[in-house]
Symmetry: C2
Subunit: 200 residues, 2 copies
């Protein structure tokens, strides 16, 4: 049972991504969390790929952003990913692991480092801005310098969403599929699917 | 003080809508709610306009959809509305009022009726499908008939989101604005704004 099981929805998602790779916004999706006041919170983030050969979704973030605080009190999220040309919608619900510099797992720290070096220098510099996450009154763009070889700064973290339910809907064909993860007797994750209405 | 106060973010939103009216998906946004299990929930819905001259946002929905159940246990939502050409993002947080056929307020029932007749016949027919909201095994499209003059069916409801906080971000210019509603001494709503980082 050592063979990695490909999630059935992952193929659909990869097809949507490939067919719309000419659209810059095709890698943007909306990530919902529950705020510390119990209200929903929702923002656009950028897809940074699947973690290795898994179905886990990677996002880069700033430890000072509100979503990190929110994920600490409620570690669940739902992605809503709508593809504007193919009219595919994926609602991906799961638990989010926040990997910051204080993580004690060397493998996770390696993921964070790899993701850091995968960022452009411009993107890396954003994590140095001391005013990120705070009200700004300074109109002038600030200049920072950063060694291209330097590892991730404190504010840089990686979110790994481990999906346990995916609702797929195509608004052209009205095709609807629901995928649910299950654990087998030996503790391995597998996916079950059924045809359904979108809101089930 | 009887003059309606235009929300300062509404003008920005109307500009984004107008400049991207050639894109069908410009009126689609993601609506996050809190699920009955306490986890976030997120889906794409269609903007149906502002209610009269107010800043309240209207969405049509089906009473059998999961979000209605969710809004009954937690009546708050955050819209994330990303405009793919102008790179404007609006995060609109507020309380949601669900108007279904059992509502006792004649004015609200009138809003529901007006919205029903604003729907195409094809859209109206969706609310007659007995399998909406339930797993479907039937592959055949079903045929229903509906009198064009008949009022809203039971499953049709209108959501009115009354915003109390709006975070605006333009990803091209990195302009960030935060708008918060306040109540004046005489109980009227007004908006305060400040320049800020996006996640504040």
């Amino acid at each position: 049972m050592g063979t990695p099981v490909t999630a059935p929805w992952k193929q659909l998602l990869l097809q949507a991504l490939e067919s719309q790779s000419h659209l810059k916004h095709s890698i943007y999706f909306q990530l919902a969390t529950v705020g510390t006041n119990g209200r929903p919170s929702n923002r656009t983030v950028v897809f940074r790929g699947f973690q290795d050969n898994t179905d886990k979704i990677q996002i880069n973030s700033d430890t000072r952003s509100r979503k990190i605080e929110e994920l600490k009190s409620c570690p669940f999220s739902e992605i809503c990913w709508y593809f504007t040309e193919s009219w595919d919608q994926f609602r991906i619900n799961g638990r989010v692991d926040v990997i910051d510099g204080s993580n004690s797992d060397p493998e996770k720290l390696q993921i964070r480092e790899k993701s850091w070096f995968g960022c452009s220098m411009k993107a890396r510099l954003q994590y140095l801005d001391p005013e990120q996450g705070c009200p700004s009154v300074n109109e002038q763009p600030k200049e920072f310098s950063l060694d291209p070889c330097a590892g991730p700064v404190d504010a840089f973290c990686v979110l790994i969403l481990d999906p346990d339910q995916v609702d797929y809907l195509n608004l052209k064909s009205n095709q609807k599929l629901k995928f649910m993860s299950r654990l087998s007797d030996n503790g391995e994750k597998y996916w079950a699917s059924l045809k359904t209405s979108p809101e089930c």
